[in-house]
């Protein structure tokens, strides 16, 4: 890597590799960026943090040439630059790895890495060269990926490696990573952090966006905090505590991230016995009481999501019984589960929880249409009344119930999903990663809601890969590994993450 040393015509050797100053960008009605500064030196990893809507992604869009700033200057290696397209930014050495990976699933790792810059010999593709260079690139990251396998069949962390390999294949000098560990297990995340350190030592400047504050101390040199499109603080990653960071991000002191709860669990509401599906779920049994929050913890691939889907009838189970309030129920499809009072709030709200292009009103009404219609005709007045009631009850911030669900923030979308199941008066709520993609301030509201729901007698099962969340919210913790339950912990103030982790890797 020769990053940072390429001389420009007016290069200033003392300047940081990347300097963005006074960046302003307005959209109709919002000032997304209001004079933001960001500097990154070669061989430095800078964490960019802030709540959703703080301006992180807009700033990265400006850097990546996706949007043009209204004002402000960008200097790369001391030279003023203004790119008009993502292509120009890439050519200058800016690589952005988005949260939603952008690989073509049917193409192999090497085909993806060299997409658009295929090596050729006499005008024909040279796949052998491609594969050799792929193996070299991935080896440089201290990893191994089979260059023959289509990317759709690689794990998420392998796909991420392919994306990083693509970035360094073009000699990227600045690498932006947006929530790279959102869908990685702890071990995979740790490996990714090693890769980032490797890149740092070879002189790449890394901008690291994450909601996971623990990671920042582990892998970043410096933190930059944005709020409402402005710089609100920052400093060396080691010197800023978790509390201080959160206070900067939300602009107030969060008294307690996980609100206190005082519920005595009642009789057993949901009992699942001997659930089984292939290698994903092997003989899983558990019960949840009224008013109780049970957490399913474990690494990615442990079978948490799969277990919830079996309870909900979303996938076919090979064995196992389900009882609600002591009565056995037949659950062969989501319809059966819904009729039995069970609701699944999926991890991926965009793909499975909501019809994004449709109005919030229709999303909330969707599982409730039977109760809202007579002889097949929907009663529009009752539908609106129901939506208004639950949107208010859950404090969903809405301009109008007819705005498309896609326009809401992550936290509000999750509230809409909760609303649609509350309106159905479901008694058992299965939450899969309840706060994924939701920013710190809005998380607390979701936690409060979950507590209120439990207090009202609902039984909650929460699958989560966020250990602080598990420890902060659950009454009991069921730890899974490789499709089996490896242990159960009654949660309390003296339970440590290490105890859970020990069972998760068992």
């Amino acid at each position: 890597m020769t990053a940072g040393t390429r001389p420009g015509s007016d290069a200033d050797p003392a300047a940081p590799l990347l300097a963005m100053t006074g960046i302003v960008k307005s959209y109709p009605g919002v000032r997304a960026l209001d004079g933001v500064d960001l500097e990154v030196a070669a061989g430095e990893v800078v964490a960019l943090v802030g709540e959703n809507g703080a301006g992180k992604s807009t700033l990265m869009k400006v850097l990546g040439g996706v949007v043009a700033p209204d004002a402000g200057r960008i200097r790369l290696a001391g030279r003023a630059v203004a790119w008009r397209s993502p292509r120009e930014a890439r050519a200058a050495g800016i690589a952005v790895i988005h949260q939603e990976l952008s690989l073509v699933p049917g193409l192999t790792a090497s085909e993806n890495i060299f997409l658009g810059q295929e090596p050729t010999r006499h005008g024909f593709l040279a796949p052998a060269v491609e594969r050799r260079r792929t193996v070299d690139l991935v080896a440089r990251l201290g990893a191994h990926v089979d260059p023959h396998v289509p990317c759709g069949r690689l794990t998420t962390s392998q796909q991420q490696l392919v994306e990083i390999a693509r970035a360094i294949s073009t000699d990227a000098r600045v690498l932006v990573m947006d929530e790279p560990t959102a869908s990685l297990s702890h071990a995979e995340a740790a490996r990714l952090h090693d890769v980032i350190r490797e890149l740092r030592s070879s002189g790449v400047a890394v901008i690291y966006i994450s909601h996971r504050l623990e990671e920042i101390a582990a892998v970043c040199d410096r933190v930059v905090v944005l709020r409402d499109g402005r710089n609100v603080g920052g400093g060396p990653a080691g010197s800023l505590g978790r509390r201080a960071l959160i206070a900067l991000m939300v602009g107030r002191d969060l008294v307690d991230e996980y609100p206190a709860r005082d519920v005595v669990p009642g009789p057993v509401r949901l009992a699942a016995r001997g659930l089984r599906r292939g290698g994903a779920v092997r003989d899983v049994s558990f019960t949840v009481r009224r008013g109780e929050i049970l957490a399913l913890a474990g690494l990615v691939g442990a079978g948490r999501t799969e277990t919830l889907r079996l309870v909900f009838g979303a996938d076919r189970r090979e064995a196992g019984t389900i009882e609600v309030d002591g009565r056995p129920v037949t659950v062969r499809s989501p319809r059966d589960a819904i009729a039995a009072g069970i609701a699944l709030l999926t991890e991926d709200r965009k793909a499975e929880g909501l019809v994004l292009s449709h109005p919030v009103r229709e999303n909330i009404a969707l599982p409730n249409l039977a109760g809202l219609s007579r002889a097949g005709f929907i009663d529009g007045r009752r539908e609106r009344a129901l939506v208004d009631r639950f949107a208010t009850e859950l404090r969903v911030r809405l301009a109008h119930p007819d705005v498309p669900a896609a326009t809401l923030s992550g936290g509000n979308q999750q509230k809409v999903v909760i609303a649609k199941w509350l309106a159905r008066s479901s008694d058992v709520l299965l939450f899969d990663e309840p706060t994924r993609g939701i920013d710190v301030g809005a998380r607390r509201e979701i936690y409060l809601l979950m507590n209120e729901l439990a207090a009202s007698g609902k039984a909650i099962v929460m699958a989560s890969s966020d250990l602080p969340e598990v420890l902060g919210m659950a009454d009991r913790i069921l730890v899974m590994h490789d499709g089996r339950v490896t242990g159960e912990i009654a949660n309390g103030p003296d339970v440590t993450p290490e105890q859970v982790m020990a069972l998760a890797v068992a």
Partner: protein, 439 residues
């Protein structure tokens, strides 16, 4: 403007396009119109009576078109309520007029007036009377007063447009439902052919042929429509059960239904149906509105209500918008998708029956390429091929746009090859317009 206003604008943004098209075609086809209705005939009779003596002899010269014949009949009745043969009517071409004049001249006596239509008034033989038949004198030629009016906007032409598009518009209702679920149905053209063949063959072979009763014809048509619905159910079952792309399944259905129609008809048209079989497609039983048009309107109203006000409608949109989210919300996704293909099959069958009625026959060649026009109507009407959105009234507008363009170009004398190019451009512009809106 609230979100509702935006939605309305987005849903029906092709309406202004239709209005502009109608305006443009009206201007392009503006021409002198001789009103040949009863009122005009009475007015002309009054004019002629006022201009001459009470017992004047009049020759009415018209062509053999039905509207001109009716005009002549009314005119003759008005001018000559008795039967003293002071008025003679000639129907046909200039030669017939010359012959009649010759007969009048041979019989002796004067001719006081000639009543003509704007077309016949231009015939040389009428201008030549004083020279060619001096014994008749020099009769004045009377023509009903003309007015400027677009050919396109004439009542008979508008009825024509509506009748032409009725079949495609009916089939497009089912297609809209299918496309809202994110699917496509290529089999509708073949199903229309199959339906026309089944209905006419049942009438020919089992229900008395040209002597079939009304009840028999209804039974035959209902059977044909139900058969197409059954085919639609099978198509939907294969799509939902085996998770095969609708494009492939309906392509196969299209081939099979087309083949079946050819086998059942022996590859020929079936004409052995009663005269009254055309009542559905060409009749006008309620207030002069063509039955096919009335049927289309009723179906659109019903479809609009189903799509916007019922659970089934909401489920169709939800399945097309996000099938997995819909399934996890308890929507019976497979049943909903099947319902869309059944609806498409039934309406294609109905379209085939209307077509057979309009053409008074059934044939395996009917409905050829209709699937493409039907899909075009849906797309031009603003329904996204991606599924999850669209309005059936938009589809009606889309079908009207296609009909108006075809009809307008016919009136303007544009040849059919050019028409295809224009139609293609219109479809392309509709899709581009949709893209721009989404930006």
């Amino acid at each position: 403007m609230g979100p509702l206003g935006h939605r309305l604008l987005a849903d029906y943004r092709m309406v202004p396009v239709l209005v502009v098209l109608v305006g443009a075609l009206s201007i392009l086809t503006i021409a002198d119109q001789a009103p040949l209705d009863d009122a005009a005939a009475r007015r002309l009779a009054a004019t002629i009576r006022a201009a001459g003596p009470p017992d004047q002899r009049v020759l009415v010269v018209v062509r053999s078109r039905p509207e001109e014949q009716a005009f002549a009949k009314t005119l003759a009745r008005e001018l000559d309520p008795g039967t003293d043969e002071r008025v003679e009517v000639v129907r046909g071409d200039p030669a017939a007029a010359r012959e009649a004049l010759g007969r009048l001249a041979a019989a002796g006596g004067r001719l006081d007036a000639v009543a003509a239509t704007p077309t016949t008034a231009g015939w040389l033989v009428l201008a030549d009377i004083p020279a060619a038949f001096p014994t008749l004198g020099s009769p004045r030629v009377f023509v009903p007063t003309a007015r400027r009016w677009p050919n396109f906007l004439r009542g008979d032409n508008l009825v024509n447009v509506a009748n032409q598009i009725a079949v495609i518009a009916i089939m497009a209702i089912g297609m809209t439902a299918v496309i809202i679920t994110g699917g496509i149905d290529l089999s509708v053209g073949s199903l229309a052919a199959l339906s026309s063949v089944v209905a006419t063959r049942l009438i020919r072979d089992h229900l008395g042929g040209v002597d079939a009763s009304a009840g028999g014809m209804v039974l035959a048509c209902a059977t044909a429509i139900a058969a197409c619905g059954l085919v639609g159910w099978g198509t939907g079952a294969v799509i939902t059960f085996f998770q095969v792309p609708p494009f492939i399944v309906t392509l196969a259905t299209m081939l099979m239904a087309g083949g079946l129609a050819s086998i059942l008809s022996g590859g020929e048209s079936i004409h052995q149906v009663p005269e009254s079989f055309v009542r559905l497609g060409r009749g006008a039983d309620v207030a002069g509105i063509p039955n096919a048009v009335l049927l289309t309107v009723l179906l659109y109203v019903a479809a609009h209500v189903v799509l916007s006000r019922t659970r089934l409608g909401r489920h169709l949109y939800a399945v097309g918008g996000n099938a997995e989210a819909a399934r996890l919300a308890g929507v019976p996704v497979r049943r909903v998708v099947r319902a869309a293909y059944v609806a498409s099959g039934l309406l294609a069958g109905l379209g085939g029956v209307v077509l057979a009625s309009q053409l008074r026959s059934g044939s395996p060649t009917y409905g050829a390429m209709y699937e493409l026009y039907v899909i075009a109507a849906v797309v031009v009407g603003g329904t996204s091929l991606g599924g999850g959105e669209g309005r059936v009234i938009g589809t009606l507008v889309g079908a009207l746009i296609i009909a108006v363009i075809q009809n307008g170009m016919n009136l303007a004398g544009i040849e059919s090859y050019t028409q295809k190019i224009v139609l293609g451009l219109v479809i392309l512009s509709a899709v581009l317009l949709d893209r721009l809106r989404r930006r």
